[in-house]
Every structure is written in structure tokens, then in C-alpha cells.
């Protein structure tokens, strides 16, 4: 009986202790415990608030800058196609010879003359040398235009475009004000940004090339990493004997998941490009490298979710005479699938945002057309963002942000799909 150590406990005359719950010391201790709890709660709230604040800031800046990237400015140029072409017929611009006939008409010359007539020396400040391609595209899609005397809308130079968005120097702002007063400018949704590829003029670049590259690379990654990862997880969890070799493999896979991604890039450079001589800058090599990076994540997630399938389900299946492989494919794998998918999506999301290893294998090429297959040179969204963020031309700032928005949307779509699939396959017991 020791009552000096804890004052709240008193020894009664009979000899057994009774706790004084009402005593001052005890009340103080209780108050202290509640205070600690409150403190912990507030700290948690603060942590959540800070992270939401950062997220909100990021989204605000991205969307604020990026949305402008989806808007383009166009300036009207009146062209009398009939007199300029000397009476070309629309039939010439249809069929298989369309492009050749169009080239012989010297559209560039026609457009440049028209610009000079309308705007004089300002012409070179409003349009780029490539602005005439808008006319070519318009004629190809609508040959009837060749018989008209009409006004065509051409994409304006990046500086003027920025002036339209209140972000340029005085010269262009004055020019823009003049054009606006004359009713010769309009703004519209920049479809070209969603359908085009990289270029030198920020007003004419597009994201489709990089987007398609990302899509192809992800498909290569998924089709390699998912089956290999899942089968490895199943084997290690259900079949592998418990011995030193298995332990070694387990440790190696865990370590592999933590290896910095640039190392995988170096590996890809040496193995796939130098030794196996695969095509440089291709989505195939990029996909292979990212698959190597993603696979350990899938193996780990897969093993965990296979482990969490209750053993009673395995016993039940064995008990009615299912063979081990039937137990795995009829029962264990379907029940583990939601967990495996979550792991796969985390891995794929990481792969989608990966830049460093792809730079190592040369996926940073300047490509003005989207890849047609897995062996074509291609680039991916994060690399494109990296390249544009490095550009000197200020017009690329909003394009960078717009590309980030596209990347985030791609990611969100992927995650949404994963959540949908997971909920669809989820079974409760």
C-alpha cells in the first residue's frame, strides 16, 4: 500500500484503496487529458486546412492562367478568291489531287498580298508567316470558298493574342484596340490547341501530340505492368515456398518500388536503347521503362489485397473440391481485384506524371505531328509541359498552364474510372 506516490488514492482505515474521483488532483488530470485531446483535434484540422489551402491555390493559379490558353484571337482578312486565283473551280480542291492543286495556287502568296492590302505594314505585327495555313485548311474542308469574295479569320500572332487577354506591351495593346474598334478581331475556343502538336508559335501549338503520346505510353505500361504484377503477386502469395529465395525476392521488390525514377530511365537507356537497339524516343521504350517502375507498386498492392482475402473463402472453395488454381482465379483474385486496381491506379498515376526517366530515353524531341504507333517518336504530357515551361516566348506561359489542366483532367478521368471499376467489382462479406 503506497499512498504517497499517487495522492488521489487514499488508503482507508480498513486497508483497501479507494479512488477519489472528485479530488482536485484527479479533476486536474482529467482536464489535462481533455485538453490534450482538443489540441490534437485542432492540429489535425490545421493540417487539413493548410493542405486544402495549397490545393486551392494551385488550382486557382492553374485555372486562372490555363483557361486563357484555350482561347485564341482571330483577325479578319478579306480575300477575293475569284480574282486572286484566276477563277479556280471547287472541283480542283476535292478528290485526291486537292492538296497538289492547292499548292500550285500559291495560297501563301494570295494571303500575304491580301494582308498587305488590308493592313499594310501592321500585317507582320498581326500575323505570322504561317497564318496562311488557316486559309489552306479552310479551303480543304470547304472547297466552295474558292469561288467567293469573302473575309477569312486568321489566327493572330501570339503577342496580339496576349494583348487581347490584357497581358502584352503598349504597342500591341494599341494595335489590338485599333483592330477592335474596326470590328476586325474575334475570340474563340482554340480547337487547334486540342487537335494540334508542338510548334514554335505559341498561338498555334497543340496538346494532342503529347496527349496521344501519353495515351500510347500508358497503354504499353498497363498492358505490361498489370498482368506481370498481378501474376507475380499471386505466385508470391499463393504458390511460392517460404524460403530464403522468396524473402530475397520480396525485399528486392519492395526496394524496387523505392528506386528513384531517373535510375529506371538510365536502365532503359542502357538496356532498351543501347543493347536491344529499340527505336529512340518511342512510346514503346517509354512504356517499358514506366512498366518497370509501376510493376513493383502493383506487386505490393496485389500481395496486400490477396493477403486480406479471408482464409475461410479459400477453405470453402477447397472444401467443395476446387483445385488450387480454381481457388485463385474463381475466388481469391476476384475478391482481391478492387485492392489490386487501387494499387494499379496509384502506380499508373505516378507513371503518367513521370518526366525524368523519359528525358533519359529521349522522349523530349520537338515533334510537330502526333505519333502513329508505339515505335514512332513521341512525347508525353509532363515532358511537353516541361519543354513549354522552358520556352522564352511569353505566350507559352498560358499554354503550359493549359497543358497542366489537360494533364490533371486526364489524371482525374483515370482515377474516376478506377473508382468506378473498384466499386463495381467490390464485394462485401
Amino acid at each position: 500500500m503506497n499512498n504517497t506516490a499517487s495522492p488521489a488514492i487514499e488508503t482507508t482505515a480498513v486497508g483497501h484503496r479507494s479512488t477519489d474521483w472528485q479530488g482536485e488532483a484527479m479533476q486536474k488530470r482529467i482536464a489535462k487529458r481533455y485538453a490534450a485531446e482538443r489540441r490534437f483535434k485542432y492540429m489535425g484540422l490545421a493540417a487539413v486546412a493548410i493542405s486544402s489551402l495549397f490545393l486551392a491555390f494551385l488550382l486557382f493559379v492553374m485555372i486562372g492562367n490555363g483557361l486563357k490558353g484555350f482561347i485564341k484571337t482571330e483577325v479578319a482578312v478579306p480575300i477575293d478568291f475569284v480574282s486572286a486565283t484566276g477563277g479556280a473551280s471547287p472541283d480542283q480542291l476535292a478528290g485526291e489531287n486537292a492538296e497538289r492543286n492547292l499548292n500550285s495556287l500559291d495560297i501563301a502568296g494570295i494571303v500575304n498580298t491580301a494582308i498587305e492590302i488590308e493592313y499594310g505594314t501592321d500585317g507582320s505585327e498581326i500575323f505570322t508567316e504561317n497564318s496562311w495555313t488557316d486559309v489552306r485548311d479552310a479551303l480543304l474542308s470547304n472547297p466552295a470558298l474558292i469561288t467567293q469574295n469573302t473575309s477569312v479569320w486568321l489566327t493572330a500572332k501570339s503577342e496580339l493574342d496576349r494583348a487581347a487577354k490584357d497581358d502584352s506591351n503598349e504597342k500591341y495593346e494599341a494595335l489590338y484596340a485599333k483592330l477592335k474598334d474596326a470590328g476586325k478581331v474575334q475570340s474563340g475556343f482554340n480547337w487547334g490547341f486540342l487537335t494540334g502538336s508542338d510548334g514554335t508559335d505559341p498561338a498555334r501549338v497543340g496538346i494532342w501530340g503529347a496527349f496521344k503520346g501519353s495515351l500510347i505510353t500508358m497503354l504499353v505500361t498497363l498492358s505490361l505492368a498489370f498482368p506481370i504484377g498481378v501474376l507475380a503477386a499471386v505466385y508470391l502469395e499463393e504458390y511460392a515456398p517460404r524460403n530464403r529465395a522468396t524473402d530475397f525476392i520480396e525485399v528486392s521488390i519492395n526496394n524496387l518500388a523505392a528506386v528513384p525514377s531517373i535510375i529506371f530511365g538510365l536502365l532503359g537507356l542502357v538496356v532498351f536503347l543501347s543493347w536491344l537497339d529499340m527505336s529512340r524516343s518511342s512510346a514503346l521504350v517509354g512504356g517499358l521503362v514506366l512498366a518497370l517502375m509501376t510493376m513493383p507498386v502493383i506487386v505490393i498492392a496485389g500481395r496486400n489485397s490477396i493477403k486480406s482475402v479471408p482464409p475461410s473463402i479459400r477453405e470453402a472453395a477447397l472444401g467443395v473440391g476446387a483445385s488450387p488454381i480454381q481457388v485463385v482465379f474463381h475466388h481469391v483474385l476476384p475478391l482481391a481485384l478492387p485492392g489490386i486496381m487501387t494499387g494499379t491506379i496509384i502506380g499508373m498515376a505516378r507513371a503518367l506524371g513521370e518526366t525524368a526517366p523519359l528525358l533519359m530515353i529521349g522522349m523530349r524531341a520537338f515533334l510537330t505531328s502526333p505519333p502513329q504507333g508505339i515505335t514512332d517518336p513521341s512525347t508525353v504530357l509532363p515532358v511537353q509541359i516541361y519543354l513549354w515551361s522552358d520556352e522564352v516566348n511569353r505566350g507559352f506561359v498560358e499554354k503550359t498552364s493549359a497543358a497542366i489542366i489537360v494533364l490533371l483532367l486526364f489524371l482525374l478521368t483515370m482515377n474516376a474510372l478506377a473508382i468506378y471499376l473498384r466499386n463495381r467489382f467490390e464485394t462485401r462479406w
Binding site: 475461410s312 472453395a317 477447397l318 472444401g319 467443395v320 464485394t427 462485401r428
Partner: protein
């Protein structure tokens, strides 16, 4: 110890009535170095329900699981001795485990329906063994199994709802129906009522009565009253030995062994 076992074995052989469906001779089970079962010899026949009783950790469940080789899944487990089904050694290399487990079905301690529909739970076994040639036949098997398990009237309108949505007692009867569906010869039940309330337990016991004679039934239980209610033959296990094996009525009124008497009268357990 050995003399006792020998006696028990002798008793078992002597009192076995009718044809023996399964026999075991001098079965030892080891988990690594540790011996869990020591020289058990027993005969299981078609006509009677056999109960294994004994205190926790006495090896009765372990022994039950050797009878359809469910313990194969435990890497350290080793079985010696002879266990036969219709005179065939089930541990012989020629024995197909998958077939064996279809012939010797099992019901587990905790109800473990697959997280699938009631229909699919029952149909799974017949499907993988190819017991039904078409949808109609499969429907028939499902209905017959559920009827035998006394569950048909309760679930016939919701065959496509999840088996896990049933109550605990219904789940366990579903598991029995699932075992019946592959048309086994022997059904092993490992404490099938330990997770159930008294009413559900009564229903399972009733069901065991009805199944008697159609299948050789072995039930492990730690509940002596249950053993007395459902079984005709009882084996008492203690510390890995089978102490006594005989007619249930005889065993509970006039046990031959000191340890059996102590257990039945509740001196330990």
C-alpha cells in the same frame, strides 16, 4: 498411454457396426516437430453420426481435417498412418485430392459462404466438377440441395441475392447445402454450431438428423449435450489421443475410461 490407445482402437474395431465408410489406422499428425495426434484408429460408418468430443486443443479438429486432406494447405503438417475411404488410401500418390474433397465434403466452424448469390454458392461445386449438363439440371441440383438443407422455403424467392446477406444460421445451412450439392459420401462438420445462437443450432441439429443415413457424417463439437443429441457414436479425444470410442448412449452413461468420465462429468474441459 499406448495401452490405452490400443484398447480404444480395439474397442473401435470391435463395436463398429455395418460397413465402414472410412477407416483410420495409427494416424499420427505432426506440426513441424510437435505431435498433434498420436496413433488414432477409428471406423466411420454410413448409418451413424459420429461425434468427436474433447477439450480445446485436444486435436479433434486437426484429426477431422486429415480426413479430407484439408491440412495439406499447412506446409509444416505431416500425416503418417493410414486413412482409407472405401478401402482406398487417401494419402496414396494415386489419390486425387480434388476428387477426394468432393467425395468427403466439409462444413466449417464459421459459416463461410462465397460472396456470391445463393444460387452461385450452391452451383459452384457442381459447375467445377461438371455434374450438371445444362441449366435445367443445375437448377434442379440447387433446389434439391437447398431442400435437403432445409433452406429452400426460406430462400427460394431470393436465390440471386448474396449468400452473405443471410443470417448466421441460414449461412451455415447454405454451407451444408453447398457441401451436399457435389453429392459427397462423407460430410465432415467442424464445430458447425459454435458461432450460432441456440435456435439456429437446433435447426442444424435437426438437419443432421435428417441427413443421417444419406451421408456418413462426422461432427466435431466441444458441446457434450450436442454430441449426445445428434450422434450415435462418440469418440473422446484428449491431448492428441483418442481415449475412447463407442456408442454415444453407452459413452455418456457408462464411460470405460477415467478421463472420459472426468470430462463428461465436467471435471475439466
Amino acid at each position: 498411454m499406448t495401452t490405452e490407445t490400443a484398447t480404444a482402437a480395439a474397442t473401435a474395431t470391435a463395436t463398429a457396426s455395418g460397413t465402414s465408410k472410412m477407416t483410420t489406422r495409427n494416424v499420427d499428425v505432426f506440426y513441424g516437430e510437435k505431435q498433434a495426434i498420436d496413433g488414432v484408429s477409428i471406423d466411420i460408418d454410413m448409418e451413424n453420426v459420429t461425434a468427436f468430443i474433447g477439450p480445446s486443443g485436444c486435436g479433434k479438429s486437426t484429426f477431422l481435417r486429415t480426413m479430407n486432406r484439408m491440412n495439406d494447405t499447412i506446409p509444416t503438417c505431416r500425416v503418417t498412418g493410414e486413412i482409407t475411404l472405401d478401402g482406398e488410401d487417401i494419402y496414396a500418390p494415386s489419390m486425387d485430392v480434388v476428387q477426394l474433397r468432393a467425395r468427403v465434403g466439409m462444413v466449417f466452424q464459421k459459416p463461410n459462404p462465397f460472396p456470391k448469390s445463393i444460387y452461385d454458392n450452391i452451383a459452384y461445386g457442381p459447375r467445377i466438377h461438371g455434374l450438371a449438363s445444362g441449366k435445367a439440371e443445375l437448377d434442379q441440383i440447387v433446389e434439391k440441395s437447398l431442400q435437403r438443407a432445409g433452406l429452400w422455403s426460406e430462400v427460394k424467392d431470393r436465390l440471386h441475392e448474396s449468400g452473405t446477406a443471410l443470417s448466421g444460421g441460414q449461412q451455415q445451412r447454405l454451407c451444408i447445402a453447398r457441401a451436399i450439392a457435389v453429392d459427397p459420401e462423407v460430410i465432415l462438420m467442424d464445430e458447425p454450431c459454435s458461432a450460432l445462437d441456440p435456435i439456429a443450432t437446433a435447426k442444424i441439429e435437426e438437419l443432421i438428423h435428417e441427413l443421417r443415413g444419406k451421408y456418413a457424417i462426422v461432427i466435431v463439437t466441444h458441446n457434450m449435450q450436442q454430441a449426445a443429441r445428434v450422434s450415435q457414436r462418440t469418440a473422446f479425444f484428449h491431448l492428441g489421443n483418442m481415449v475412447e470410442y463407442g456408442d454415444t448412449s453407452e459413452m455418456f452413461t457408462n464411460p470405460q475410461e477415467e478421463r472420459t468420465r472426468d470430462y463428461i462429468t465436467g471435471r475439466y474441459g
